[in-house]
């Protein structure tokens, strides 16, 4: 019987040695210029990842954080990453934390814990950062917070109450513009005092704000789809989305471009701040910042889960997520759109790009 056990253990040992190997090309982050691709991962499995892609070398490191940091897992649902100076701030939504890494090599620098449901990061300087944070369970959302970070010590030094479900904020001329996606407002914060100085009413469900060349603020409002908070979680009501423009100096004067149904998402602006991009009804649209009407023809007829424009050469990066059980891909398009240049596989649920 001992012999049997020995033989079995031997067999088992051989099999244990047969776990699949990591297929990443190399042990380091491809040299700059490059792009980080954020993959949410499968909720509850803690397998969110960030891939690093060298735009010149086309080398891809699929799990940059794990590979560089001794196999550590980044966490659950990677929502956003922002860069301040040589530090990257990664909002890990379901893990209630912000991971801090050095850029571009992705070495872990710190973990800022106990930021509830962190969403997006913005910095006003290399030493001051802001993270939006949702409050309350999905059955009863409460006014959210903007957490103020000291980027030298990587600690939370203050928090500012804003509207419900604050999303993708921007910093502009000493002010922070915070879209409150469960309300119809944009909170404006004075970064010098960390106080809300005004709250601008836009349209239902603002998620992203960008600033254009002329100093106008554009807010993309997805409209409200109100679901029953208890099952069957059916749609109770919905309001249309809108793209809203206002000047920083006169926020009450607005250009409001309403969408016919649907729910627009992922507002981006070109590096020269003259072209807007957004996703709507399963396609990507492009619109000049001087336009006064929404485009009627899609720019790329494809649904993307994330979209980015390389500030160095305007190459377009688009994330394709094929459900939450399979790996996703990112595609590269020439600046003018048209045919795909190439595509690469990344982990489950790619949703955004950060250029380094």
């Amino acid at each position: 019987m001992k012999k049997s056990l020995l033989a079995l253990l031997l067999g088992a040992t051989v099999l244990v040695g047969c776990d699949p190997k990591n297929e990443d090309a190399g042990p380091s982050v491809p040299a700059s210029p490059g792009v980080y691709i954020l993959s949410e991962g499968q909720f509850g499995k803690g397998d969110g990842t960030i891939s690093a892609f060298g735009t010149a070398s086309k080398a891809l490191l699929t799990d940059a954080f794990g590979t560089i940091n001794n196999g550590s897992a980044l966490g659950d649902v990677i929502q956003d990453m922002g860069i301040a100076g040589t530090q990257g701030y990664i909002c890990v939504n379901a893990s209630n934390k912000v991971e801090v890494v050095s850029v571009p090599d992705f070495k872990s620098l710190a973990t800022i814990r106990n930021i509830r449901q962190p969403r997006y990061f913005a910095a006003t300087s290399a030493t001051r950062g802001y993270v939006t944070s949702w409050r309350g369970p999905y059955t009863s959302y409460q006014p959210g917070k903007v957490m103020v970070l000291n980027l030298t010590t990587n600690t939370v030094i203050d928090s500012i109450t804003v509207g419900r479900n604050p999303e993708q904020l921007i910093a502009l001329n000493g002010l922070l513009y915070v879209p409150n996606s469960y309300d119809n407002t944009v909170s404006i914060i004075d970064a010098a005092t960390n106080k809300v100085t005004s709250t601008v009413t836009v349209s239902d469900g603002p998620r992203n704000v960008v600033a254009d060349q002329a100093g106008n603020i554009w807010a993309l409002c997805s409209g409200f789809t109100v679901y029953n908070t208890v099952s069957p979680y059916n749609v109770i009501s919905s309001t249309p989305g809108a793209l809203v423009r206002f000047a920083a100096a006169s926020p009450a004067t607005q250009l409001k471009l309403a969408f016919a149904g649907g729910s627009p998402s992922q507002l981006r602006i070109s590096p020269d701040k003259t072209q807007l991009y957004y996703g709507f009804n399963g396609a990507e649209y492009k619109m000049s910042t001087t336009a006064t009407a929404l485009p009627t023809t899609p720019f790329i007829r494809r649904n993307f889960n994330g979209f980015g424009i390389d500030p160095r050469d305007n190459t377009l990066y688009a994330a394709v997520s094929t459900g939450y059980t399979t790996n996703g891909r990112f595609l590269r398009y020439p600046a003018a759109g048209g045919a795909v240049i190439d595509s690469f596989t990344v982990k489950v649920g790619p949703n955004g790009f950060v250029f380094y």
Partner: protein, 679 residues
């Protein structure tokens, strides 16, 4: 609904690892050889056949004809009652996973645990209790952690498609639970208390009494566990130790009275009740912060049966059952409640076909009444019915055949017709052995076995009625497959017996249901989309030994399971041709049991190769080998009483592993049980 997204598939290039497989097979071969050396044969006992039962039941006039009599040629795993007794404080998860080494997707101790038989999904294993399907009608599956062992006296696993015998859901196989009346006259009973690592506390009582006409058994068990065990997380600075949160089993009750009453010379009335109640914190994954989910699961099951033997040797059997299943889930103010009441009835007649065969004809009907938050405010009702014919015929004592058929009627139409044929042929039996008194099916020798079956799975209530997305037009999944194998028995005397079995199988599930965002407004909706093929090899060898006052047994098994999606549609992005998620290619088990004088020792080693955790064959749970052990001592006391002390350990090798992504399993854990028996 999330369950369905999770219960998906994955990955794997086989060729790359062929070398490993070969090495493992070679190792297993050496083992088998080592076991064949001794040869003092003994009679193997097969409690699942009529013939061996007879001597145990002197008044066997109303002995039930079990469905497994008609399952000729298919593979079956039976858990020895002595082994089952060691787990009487535990659940089906402990026995099926830790002991039989079947693959269980387990979210942690006491948490959701679902089984994958022959590479199929959780909904593809039917669970039967006293002949009735007890799969949750809403989810179409069972959480094995909610099936305490104390509630039943028999546990067996039937592998392979078997809907003709067991009805909807028996695609990968069926778990067969039963409470068998104990007709030994007199009073018996036991009281047991358990305590173990990480706040485990429990206990159980059992009492049995029988007269010539009445047999009663009452069993109850209780268990609670804090599950506040330490686990390590690899962080950039190194390994960091955490303590598991929100994973407690607050309580788990099981209460199961059973009664069998012989009515006259030819009738038997049975009544069985099984009540279970569990209150659990639900662990959402250690990477998710801030959840405090909790779930109450309650099941009430009642079955009344009557059997009557006719003067011609036939047997009537009727049964009626009523079940209530409650699942109440809450997390941070979000509440999801569900209650389903099921009434079932079955009637069958088994006719003898001369001395060589029997034919059973039967009908069954089910009615479901569901009040589920996810279906809206209105209750949902659904009816299903089925007719079946089971034939067993042995043209010669050494050639046994069966042919079965079931046709079910479902609300959306007829389910696929599910015929089954099976064969067992004793190719070779040595002459002049001491086993001539045994029935041919149990004599030493070499037996060829084969079976082919079609099977089905009825759409679950969630798949039909969930809002949004529920699809009332969903077809039943259809499956089919075959298996061929050899069984070799060595030894027929009282001292040693070796039984070796080798089985190859291939099976297909068509119209495999998948939830995709294809419903109105992009809602996830279940569709009949896929074809999934599973192929594999199962080898096992069991040795039984008796020498003086020593009793020993050793069992080694190996399973190779290759399961892949073979067809799909464009909208279903899971790739074809890769190993499904949560189906390890290789599994192996080695268990031993020893009893000597008052001592008892058992070990069980289970090995599982890596299992993918996504459909792309990229992320995976690494391979792991786990050892469990039990050491016990029984001290006889006066007046037919005795005291037994059991010390059990799980994860004795203290392996650090995740039983599911972000669900670290407990480290080495111990429990101590003290039992007082009266007989």
């Amino acid at each position: 609904m999330v369950f369905k997204f999770l219960a998906k598939s994955a990955i794997g290039s086989l060729g790359r690892r062929r070398g490993c497989v070969l090495a493992a097979l070679l190792a297993a071969g050496a083992t088998a050889h080592a076991q064949t050396a001794p040869s003092r044969p003994t009679a193997p006992t097969r409690p699942d056949t009529l013939t061996t039962r007879a001597h145990r039941l002197p008044e066997a006039q109303v002995r039930a004809v079990r469905p497994e009599r008609f399952a000729v040629g298919s593979r079956r795993l039976e858990v020895d009652s002595a082994v089952l007794a060691q787990y009487r404080g535990g659940t089906a998860t402990d026995v099926l996973g830790g002991r039989l080494g079947l693959y269980i997707k387990n979210y942690g101790p006491g948490q959701l645990a679902t089984i994958s038989l022959r590479g199929t999904a959780a909904q593809h294993t039917a669970v039967l209790w006293n002949g009735l399907n007890i799969m949750l009608p809403t989810l179409g599956q069972n959480d094995l952690s909610l099936l305490p062992i104390s509630g039943n006296t028999q546990l067996a696993v039937q592998l392979g498609p078997a809907a003709a015998l067991y009805g909807s859901g028996a695609v990968g196989g069926a778990i067969v639970l039963r409470t068998e009346p104990d007709w030994r006259p007199g009073l018996r009973g036991s009281v047991q208390a358990d305590a173990g690592s990480f706040g485990l506390r429990g206990g159980n009582v059992e009492a049995r009494a029988a007269s010539a006409t009445l047999a009663v058994r009452v069993a109850a068990s209780y268990r609670q566990a804090q599950n506040d065990y330490p686990y390590l997380v690899r962080e950039p600075a190194g390994l960091v130790r955490y303590t598991m949160q929100n994973a407690a089993l607050r309580h788990q009750w099981s209460f199961s009275p059973d009664l069998a009453w012989r009515v006259g010379a030819a009738g038997e009335l049975t009544a069985s009740v099984w009540l279970t109640d569990a209150d659990r914190e639900i662990q959402q994954g250690t990477s998710v912060a801030g959840s405090n989910a909790r779930e109450i699961d309650q099941s009430r099951r009642l079955v009344l049966g009557y059997r009557r033997t006719t003067s011609g040797g036939g047997q009537w059997s009727v049964r009626g059952a009523w079940f209530e299943d409650i699942i109440n889930y809450s997390d941070q103010g979000a509440i999801s409640n569900s209650r389903v009441r099921t009434t079932q009835s079955q009637a069958d007649y088994t006719a003898p076909l001369g001395p060589r065969g029997s034919l059973r004809l039967g009908l069954e009907a089910q009615h479901f009444a569901a009040l589920v938050d996810g279906y809206g405010d209105e209750p949902i009702a659904e009816n299903r019915a089925a007719a079946f014919a089971l034939l067993r015929y042995d043209p010669r004592p050494t050639l046994r055949l069966s042919a079965n058929l079931r046709q079910a009627a479902l609300p959306a139409g007829l389910a696929p017709l599910t015929p089954t044929v099976g064969l067992e042929w004793d190719v070779y039996q040595p002459l002049n052995s001491a086993s001539d008194s045994l029935p041919p099916a149990q004599r030493p020798g070499l037996t060829l076995k084969a079976s082919a079956a079609r099977t089905y799975r009825a759409p679950t209530l969630n798949e039909r009625y969930w809002r949004p997305g529920g699809n009332p037009d969903l077809l039943a999944e259809a499956g089919g497959g075959y298996e061929v194998g050899l069984r070799h028995r060595l030894g027929s005397a009282a001292h040693l017996a070796l039984e070796t079995e080798l089985t190859a199988f291939s099976q297909l599930v068509d119209n495999w249901v998948q939830w995709l965002p294809l419903g109105a407004g992009g809602a996830y909706s279940p569709r009949n989309l896929r074809q999934v093929r599973s192929q594999g090899l199962e080898a096992s060898s069991a040795l039984r030994l008796r020498q003086g006052r020593y009793r020993g047994a050793a069992r080694i098994s190996y399973a190779f399971t290759s399961t892949q999606k073979t067809q799909g549609i464009a909208a279903d992005t899971d790739p074809v041709g890769v190993q499904l998620a949560y189906v390890p290619l290789h599994r192996a088990t080695f268990s031993t049991d020893h009893a000597w004088r008052g001592w008892l020792a058992s070990t069980a080693f289970t090995f599982s190769s890596f299992a993918y955790t996504d459909a792309s064959a990229s992320s995976f749970l690494p391979a792991v080998g786990l050892l469990g052990a039990t050491l016990g001592r029984t001290v006889p006391l006066p007046h037919h009483t005795g005291l037994t002390l059991l010390v059990q350990s799980t994860n004795l090798l203290n392996r650090r592993y995740d039983s599911y992504p972000a669900r670290p399993a407990p480290p080495r854990a111990f429990s101590v049980s003290l039992r007082f028996d009266y007989q």
